[in-house]
């Protein structure tokens, strides 16, 4: 099993979620994060003084899934979250050793 972690632009969340849902991904976990990267932050001006806001709001999606689905999910996210503009974000793939469903105690792929 793998975990896919995608950092995307917040306004793309619904689109990505819907696309994943359509292809049968039954679950995911979402976190509000702040991103720092090539995309430059903006400047806020309070009473004439500039403040650099280096961090931009992003959304992190985490999806645990079986190895066979990884490629399809990655390409779906990549196509849906893509705006072609800098700051679109990244997808990371990690190994998972075990998954347990709390409600039932099921393990492995059955738990996803």
């Amino acid at each position: 099993m793998k975990k896919i972690e995608a950092i995307i632009k917040p306004f793309k969340l619904d689109e990505v979620k819907d696309a994943l849902n359509d292809m049968g991904i039954k679950g995911m976990t979402v976190t509000e994060v702040k991103g720092f990267g090539r995309q430059k932050g903006h400047v806020e001006l309070y009473r004439g003084a500039e403040y650099d806001i280096a961090f931009l709001p992003k959304v992190k999606l985490e999806i645990a899934l079986s190895d066979s689905l990884v490629e399809k999910v990655v390409s779906t996210i990549q196509s849906k979250a893509n705006t072609g503009k800098i700051g679109d974000g990244k997808i990371f793939v990690y190994p998972i050793e075990e998954v347990i469903r709390i409600r039932t105690g099921e393990k492995g792929e059955a738990a996803i």
Partner: protein, 454 residues
């Protein structure tokens, strides 16, 4: 613990003293009338002598007192608290809250009598009305001939309270709460009360003819200079940035200040009449133009019109018109409002960064500078057709402008010195600043053990 003790003892002493004072029979009903220069009595020439309570005037002053109270709580508290950092908002709210409460008590105990009752050498009132001794429900003061004296006491109380609270904006995000409590007590006693006496209570500045309708000098210059001196002594914050934690609350506070200011300026007519109405509409247009002028200046100067700018400009407009509200006509108010949005903007956006003092919420830039601009322009625009008590440069009386400048200068010097001394005393007793780590973690946790949002 030592701190709490000191404070408690101080308050206790004050209270004991006051109760003692109250025991004395009120044998002096005929108080020597202070010769106030506030415009109000002069402005209602139809009511010459009888000293009869008018229910309409009384209603307006009761309401105005409530309005000015509302300016402190929650008005100013929110305006300041919303601009503070998320970890310091409660402490900021607490400074205004505690100042209002402390001054409310001290005003009744000894503030009113030393500011408004009698006149010792033009410098201070006497102690006859400590704990409001001798003021019954039908008493009338010469300072306000158509309303119960008790209402006048209350109205003036709210001015004293907000003046102290205003100062706090310069000290936030680093001052010990116990130091602030001490500051409130001392600064009220040695700075607000005397200056109020000088200008409104029959003292030297009023006697020399200085015009101050609703507190440009007494309130704003007073607070603004204390803020400047204090923040220099206190020193810079570790993170001397302005990152408003909650701008909607800032706008809310600004709106409440604007609203309450109608009582502040309109009520300073001390009557429900056309002069009160004039002060009211002058207040409104100056605030509106202050907001717009600040917004457009910012739009040109730093590319975007901010909400903090709109709110700051409105407050600056209100500050500038305060001494003038019942003296100038609508054209005067228009010009003053526009300048209010420009001069304080540059004081805050340029001057402050040049001079490198850390006035957290720009109390000096807005109230100090604005108060000075207002006091001086009152000497320019005062129109005797509005109020015969005031005649400015434009109406053929250049002397008034001189008087204004001198009064401003005297006030600045006095307040600066007194504030400096008070800070030294506080430093010796409880210390001024919180520990650096407490400062970085935020004063809400270290001073109050609370968090604003859960």
């Amino acid at each position: 613990m030592r701190r709490i003790f000191t404070i408690t003892v101080l308050l206790m002493m004050i209270l004991c003293f006051s109760v003692y004072a109250e025991e004395k029979p009120a044998e002096t009903p005929a108080v020597p009338a202070p010769s106030v220069t506030t415009a109000a009595p002069a402005a209602t020439p139809e009511t010459p002598a009888p000293l009869k309570i008018d229910t309409g005037d009384t209603a307006w002053l009761l309401v105005s007192s409530a309005f000015v109270m509302f300016m402190s709580l929650p008005g100013l508290a929110l305006f300041y608290g919303g601009i503070a950092k998320r970890k310091d908002i409660l402490n900021t709210l607490g400074m205004t809250f505690s100042a209002y409460a402390i001054v409310s008590v001290l005003w009744v105990v000894y503030g009113y009598t030393f500011a408004f009752n009698g006149n010792i050498a033009g410098l201070i009132g006497n102690g006859e009305k400590i704990m409001l001794a001798g003021i019954g429900i039908n008493s009338i003061s010469d300072a306000a001939k158509t309303i119960p004296e008790i209402v006048f006491v209350m109205f003036q109380c709210t001015f004293a309270a907000i003046t102290v609270a205003l100062v706090s904006g310069s000290f936030i995000e680093r001052m010990r709460f116990s130091a602030w409590v001490l500051f409130s007590i001392l600064w009220f006693t040695f700075s607000y009360v005397p200056v109020a006496h000088w200008v409104w209570g029959g003292g030297i500045l009023g006697a020399m003819g200085a015009l101050d309708f609703a507190g440009g000098t007494v309130v704003h210059i007073n607070a603004g200079i204390a803020a400047l001196v204090g923040c220099i002594i206190l020193g810079k914050r570790k993170e001397a940035t302005l990152v408003p934690n909650n701008l909607p609350l800032v706008i809310t506070g600004a709106g409440m200040l604007w609203f309450g200011w109608f009582g502040f300026n309109g009520g300073s007519a001390l009557a429900s009449n056309g002069l009160g109405g004039m002060a009211f509409i002058n207040t409104n247009i100056a605030a509106a133009l202050g907001a717009l002028a600040w917004m457009f200046t910012e739009w040109l100067y730093s590319k975007k019109p901010t909400l903090l700018g709109l709110a700051s400009g409105a407050v600056a407009g209100l500050v500038v018109i305060t001494p003038a509200a019942g003296f100038v006509n609508i054209t005067g108010a228009t010009v003053m409002g526009i300048l209010a949005g420009i001069i304080p903007f540059f004081a805050v956006a340029v001057l402050k960064h040049k001079l490198k003092y850390d006035d957290s919420l720009d109390v000096f830039g807005i109230h100090g500078v604005g108060g000075i601009v207002g006091a001086i322009l009152t000497g320019v625009f005062a129109d005797p057709a509005i109020n015969e008590a005031g005649k400015g440069l434009l109406y053929g009386n250049p002397g008034q402008l001189m008087t204004q400048i001198i009064a401003v200068a005297i006030t600045i010097v006095y307040v600066a010195v007194v504030t400096g001394i008070i800070f030294m005393v506080i430093k010796a007793i409880v210390g001024l600043r919180v520990d650096p780590e407490e400062e970085i973690t935020g004063l809400d946790e270290s001073q109050h053990g609370e968090r604003a949002y859960n």
